[in-house]
C-alpha cells in the first residue's frame, strides 16, 4: 500500500500518494498549477519555472518538488502569480513570437498562458535574437525563433521515441535546441509521427502542410483558458 500524504494547497487539504510531485497531486485533485516545460508523459525538467509555488514559504518548482505531510503550498496568490507573469513575459521577449502569423496560434501553450495571466504586452524589452530555422526535413519545421527551451522534444525523443533527435547546445542566453546531425533535421531519424514533434508547446516544431487546419473559434484555447480542463473535472 502506498502511503497517503496530506498537505495544504492554497488552504485546501489535498491528499496524494507518497512519491508524487506537488503538481501530480494537485492535478489528481483537480487543482491546476500553471506550467510549460512539464508534460504528463515526460520526466519533470524544472526549467521554465512557471509552476513555481511557495512551499512553507520557499519557492520550489511544483513539477519536481515531492509532496510531504503537512507542507503549506501557495500557488494562486498574487505574489506567486506575479512571478509567473514575469517569467512568461521573459519567454516572450527572449524569442521572436509573432502570434498573429504563427500556425500554432490558438493551440499554443505560451500564448494561452499569456491570456490566462492577462498579459497583453510584455513589460520587458524585446531582445529580437537571431535564430536559425531548419526547414530541411520533408515533413517537419524547426523554427528556433519560437523555441522556449522547455526541453520537451529532448525528453520525448529519448523517453518516448527511443531516439536522440534533439539536445541543447550552448549555454546561457546562447542556449539553443540542436539536432543530431550537422546537416539539419533531414539527416536525423526524426519522423513526423514522433512524440518529440507533437509535444512542442509552442510553434517551434511544426508538422508541414497542416498549418491553420483548424479554423479560429475551434482551436484548443479559443474559449477556455489553459488549465480549464483539469479545473472542470473537479466540478463534474
Amino acid at each position: 500500500m502506498e502511503k497517503v500524504v496530506t498537505f495544504l494547497l492554497d488552504g485546501e487539504v489535498i491528499q496524494g500518494q507518497e512519491g508524487q510531485s506537488i503538481m501530480q497531486a494537485a492535478d489528481k485533485a483537480g487543482k491546476y498549477i500553471p506550467r510549460l516545460c512539464a508534460h504528463k508523459d515526460l520526466t519533470p525538467h524544472g526549467s521554465c519555472r512557471i509552476c513555481t509555488v511557495l512551499v512553507n514559504g520557499r519557492p520550489q518548482s511544483a513539477c519536481t518538488q515531492p509532496i510531504a505531510d503537512g507542507i503549506l503550498v501557495e500557488s494562486e496568490t498574487p505574489k506567486v502569480n506575479q512571478l509567473r507573469t514575469d517569467i512568461i513575459d521573459m519567454l516572450f521577449v527572449e524569442g521572436n513570437h509573432f502570434c498573429m502569423f504563427c500556425e500554432k496560434s490558438g493551440n499554443c501553450e505560451l500564448q494561452a498562458l499569456a491570456y490566462r495571466f492577462g498579459i497583453t504586452a510584455p513589460k520587458y524589452p524585446y531582445q529580437f535574437p537571431q535564430r536559425d530555422v531548419d526547414a530541411s526535413h520533408p515533413d517537419i519545421f524547426l523554427d528556433r525563433d519560437r523555441c522556449v527551451l522547455c526541453g520537451r522534444c529532448v525528453r520525448a525523443s529519448k523517453e518516448l521515441d527511443g531516439k536522440n533527435v534533439f539536445q541543447f547546445v550552448g549555454r546561457g542566453v546562447e542556449k539553443r535546441i540542436a539536432v543530431n546531425s550537422e546537416k539539419g533535421l533531414k539527416d536525423t531519424d526524426a519522423d513526423v509521427v514522433d512524440k518529440a514533434i507533437s509535444v512542442c508547446p509552442v510553434g517551434a516544431i511544426l508538422k508541414k502542410r497542416v498549418g491553420y487546419a483548424v479554423p479560429v473559434g475551434r482551436r484548443l484555447y479559443d474559449h477556455q483558458p489553459i488549465g480549464s480542463a483539469s479545473e472542470d473535472e473537479t466540478t463534474k
Binding site: 524544472g46 519555472r49 519536481t64 524589452p125 531582445q127 539536445q167 546561457g172 542556449k175
Partner: protein, 603 residues
C-alpha cells in the same frame, strides 16, 4: 573520416575505456591536441562512446575552454574580472590586440595565436593576469604584453615565459609558476605547519561515527559560502544505503575575487587530501574526487605527485595507515571553464562527463549524487578544517570564532588596497579590521563574497564576517573612492550573463534584462521608474531561479539599490514631454528627413 583524426582520437578514447562518463576528459585532450573539437571529431567520439553526436556537441558547446572551431596553437586568455580591469587589463588587452594584429576572440592568420577574454582566473592579488594555455602570467603591462607576443612568435612554448618563479611551492619543479602566494596573515587553524599523517591517524583511531560526531561538536560549517554544517552533510551521506559513496572536493574556485583555494592547493595539499581521506572514512567512501577548475591546470602535476607520494607512504590506497578494510584513493577531475560547476550538483554533472547543468533537487547529493551514489561535496577549505579538527580536537577548533561561527576563515582580499592577498582571520572579524589589515582604510565599498555576495558601504563596516552577519566564501573586493560602483555592478552582471547555464528561464533571461537595465542608466537614459523596475526584476530572478547562481546573481543590483541608492538616483531623470528618456526624436525621423530633404518642424 580522416585517418589523422582517428589516429589521435582512438587512443584517447581507448585510454578511458570508451567510457561516456569520461567525455569531458576526452574532449579536453582532443582540444589540447587538435586545438579544437571539429565536427569530424564529434562524430568519431560519439561513435566510440556509442552516444548521439548531438550529446557530444552539447558538452563541447557548454565549456568555455572547449571550442568547435580550431584555436591557434597557443591561446592567450586575458582575465577580465573587475579587479583586473581596475589594474589595467583593458590596456593590456589593447596591447595584445595591436601586437598580434587581431581583435579579441580572433586567431592570427598563421593560425599560431588566439586571443580571448576569460572570467576571473583566481589571480586578483597579482592582476592584471592572463592564462597562456595552462601557464599563468601575472602583473601584466602593455610592455610585457608586447614582449610575450614577441617571445611566443619565436617559440610557442608558453612555459618559457616564466622568468622568475613565485614563492613556496610555486617554485616546485612540477609547478614552475610565477604565481606568488601572497599570504599576508597566518592564523592558527589553516595556514599553520602540518605534518602529513597526523590528522588521519587520529581519525582512524576513532570510529567513522565518532569522526562525524567530532566534526559536529567542532561546529564546522561549509566554507564555500553557504555554511551548511559539514558533520550533518557527512551524516546524511553515510546514512544513505548504497554499495558505494563518494567524497568530492570542490576546487572549482570560480567566484570572482577569490583565490584562497589556490594557496591551499599550492601549500597545503596534504592537509586537503587528509581531510578528504578523513571524510571518505567518515561517510564510507572508497573514492574521492578533486574537481579542479581548468584555470588551475598548472597545479595538476604537482597535486598528482603529492597523491603518488601519499600512496607510497600508505596514506591513501589499500589499508590506509594499516587499517584493514579501509581502502581509499583520490583522483583529480579537471574542469573546462564554467563558473556554474562550482554549484555542487553542476559539479557532479561535470564529473559525470555531462554539461555542467545543475540537477533538480531532491534528490540531494547525499541521497543520490555522482553516478547516482550518495556523495558529499565539500569545499577545499572545509576539508582542510576537518583535518585540523582531527589533529587538534573539536574543542580547540571551536575555541576560535564564535558559537555559531566556529574556526577561522580565509579571505582573498584584492582591489584598491595596499596589501592584496590571503588573510586567515577569526570568524567574527569586523570589516573595518579587515580593511585596515589590507591597507584600505579609504574604501568606499567592500564587495563581500564576490559578485554573488553583498556590496557593503562605510555605514556597515562595523559588521563582521560570520554566518550570522556577512557569510562569505572569502572573496573581498575593495573599491576605493574613485570607483564608479554602477560600473562594478555592470561588470558583475556581464559575468553572470556569461556564466548562466541557461537551464531555467529567470536566470537565463532575467540576468540579461538586469544588465540592460543597468546599461540604460549608465547611458544616461534612465528614469525614476527604472529603480522599482530593477528591484522587482531582481526579486523575480532571485525567487524563481533554480539554483544558487540565479538566486544570488541579482545581489549586485539589490545590494547597491539598498545601500548606494544615490548612485542610481543621481543618474536618472524624469522623462521630458511624456517621452521615454531614451527616445531620440531627431534620430527616429532621420531617415524621413533625408528622404524629404528638409528638417522636421517638430524636433
Amino acid at each position: 573520416m580522416s585517418e589523422r583524426i582517428k589516429a589521435v582520437l582512438d587512443p584517447i578514447c581507448r585510454e578511458v575505456g570508451n567510457d561516456r562518463t569520461s567525455l569531458l576528459d576526452i574532449l579536453r585532450e582532443v582540444q589540447h591536441r587538435c586545438g579544437g573539437v571539429s565536427g569530424e571529431a564529434v562524430d568519431l567520439i560519439a561513435k566510440r562512446l556509442n552516444i548521439a553526436r548531438v550529446e557530444v556537441e552539447s558538452v563541447v558547446s557548454f565549456y568555455a575552454f572547449l571550442s568547435d572551431k580550431p584555436n591557434g596553437n597557443v591561446v592567450i586568455r586575458i582575465c577580465d574580472d573587475i579587479i583586473d580591469r581596475m589594474h589595467g587589463s583593458e590596456t593590456v588587452a589593447r596591447a595584445f590586440e595591436s601586437e598580434l594584429g587581431i581583435q579579441m576572440g580572433q586567431t592570427t592568420e598563421d593560425g599560431k595565436i588566439s586571443l580571448t577574454h576569460t572570467p576571473c582566473i583566481g589571480m586578483c592579488d597579482q592582476a592584471p593576469a592572463a592564462l597562456i594555455d595552462d601557464v599563468v602570467v601575472t602583473h601584466l603591462s602593455s610592455d610585457t604584453a608586447r614582449s610575450i607576443v614577441a617571445e611566443l612568435r619565436e617559440n610557442p612554448d608558453p612555459t618559457r615565459l616564466v622568468k622568475e618563479l613565485g614563492n613556496g611551492n610555486n617554485a616546485h619543479d612540477l609547478v614552475s609558476s610565477m604565481v606568488q602566494n601572497n599570504i599576508r596573515l597566518r592564523g592558527p587553524v589553516l595556514l599553520a605547519d602540518f605534518e602529513p599523517g597526523t590528522a588521519l591517524k587520529k581519525a582512524l583511531s576513532l570510529s567513522p561515527v565518532e569522526v562525524i560526531r567530532n566534526v559536529k561538536t567542532a561546529r564546522l560549517r561549509g566554507r564555500g559560502g553557504a555554511g551548511f554544517p559539514t558533520g550533518m552533510k557527512w551524516e546524511f551521506t553515510r546514512a544513505t544505503k548504497a554499495d558505494k559513496r563518494y567524497i568530492i572536493c570542490n576546487a572549482d574556485e570560480g567566484e570572482p575575487g577569490t583565490f584562497k583555494d589556490r594557496v591551499l592547493l599550492t601549500e597545503y595539499p596534504d592537509l586537503l587530501f587528509e581531510g578528504m581521506t578523513i571524510g571518505g572514512y567518515a561517510i564510507g567512501a572508497a573514492e574521492g574526487i578533486v574537481y579542479l577548475r581548468g584555470e588551475y591546470a598548472y597545479l595538476r602535476k604537482f597535486l598528482e605527485s603529492v597523491l603518488e607520494r601519499r600512496r607510497e607512504e600508505g596514506l591513501i590506497g589499500k589499508n590506509v595507515c594499516g587499517v584493514e578494510d579501509f581502502e581509499f584513493d583520490i583522483r583529480i577531475q579537471m574542469g573546462a571553464g564554467a563558473y556554474i560547476c562550482g554549484e555542487e550538483t553542476a559539479l557532479i554533472s561535470s564529473c559525470e562527463g555531462l554539461r555542467g547543468d545543475p540537477k533538480n533537487r531532491p534528490p540531494f547529493p547525499a541521497q543520490s549524487g555522482y553516478l547516482g551514489y550518495p556523495s558529499s561535496v565539500n569545499n577545499v577549505e572545509t576539508l582542510c578544517c576537518a583535518a585540523r579538527i582531527m589533529e587538534h580536537g573539536p574543542g580547540w577548533f571551536s575555541s576560535h570564532g564564535t558559537d555559531r561561527s566556529a574556526g577561522t576563515k580565509l579571505l582573498s582580499i584584492s582591489g584598491d588596497c595596499k596589501r592584496p592577498g590571503i588573510y586567515e582571520v577569526s570568524l567574527s572579524t569586523s570589516l573595518k579590521e579587515i580593511l585596515s589589515l589590507a591597507g584600505a582604510e579609504d574604501a568606499q565599498a567592500l564587495q563581500v563574497g564576490g559578485p554573488s555576495g553583498q556590496m557593503v558601504g562605510r555605514q556597515e563596516f562595523d559588521k563582521t564576517i560570520c554566518y550570522d552577519d556577512f557569510a562569505t566564501g572569502g572573496s573581498m573586493m575593495v573599491f576605493g573612492p574613485q570607483r564608479d560602483l554602477l560600473e562594478v555592478v555592470h561588470a558583475f552582471l556581464e559575468f553572470f550573463v556569461e556564466e548562466s547555464c541557461g537551464y531555467c528561464t529567470p536566470c537565463r533571461v532575467g540576468n540579461v534584462l538586469l544588465k540592460q537595465g543597468i546599461e540604460k542608466i549608465l547611458d544616461g537614459k534612465g528614469e525614476p521608474a527604472d529603480l522599482p523596475y530593477l528591484e522587482e526584476l531582481a526579486q523575480t530572478v532571485k525567487m524563481a531561479s533554480r539554483c544558487g547562481l540565479g538566486q544570488t546573481s541579482p545581489n549586485p543590483v539589490l545590494s547597491t539599490l539598498k545601500r548606494f541608492r544615490s548612485e542610481y538616483e543621481r543618474r536618472v531623470k524624469p522623462a521630458l514631454d511624456g517621452r521615454q528618456p531614451d527616445f531620440d526624436l531627431s534620430e527616429a525621423v532621420a531617415q524621413a528627413v533625408s528622404i524629404v530633404g528638409r528638417e522636421s518642424t517638430h524636433s
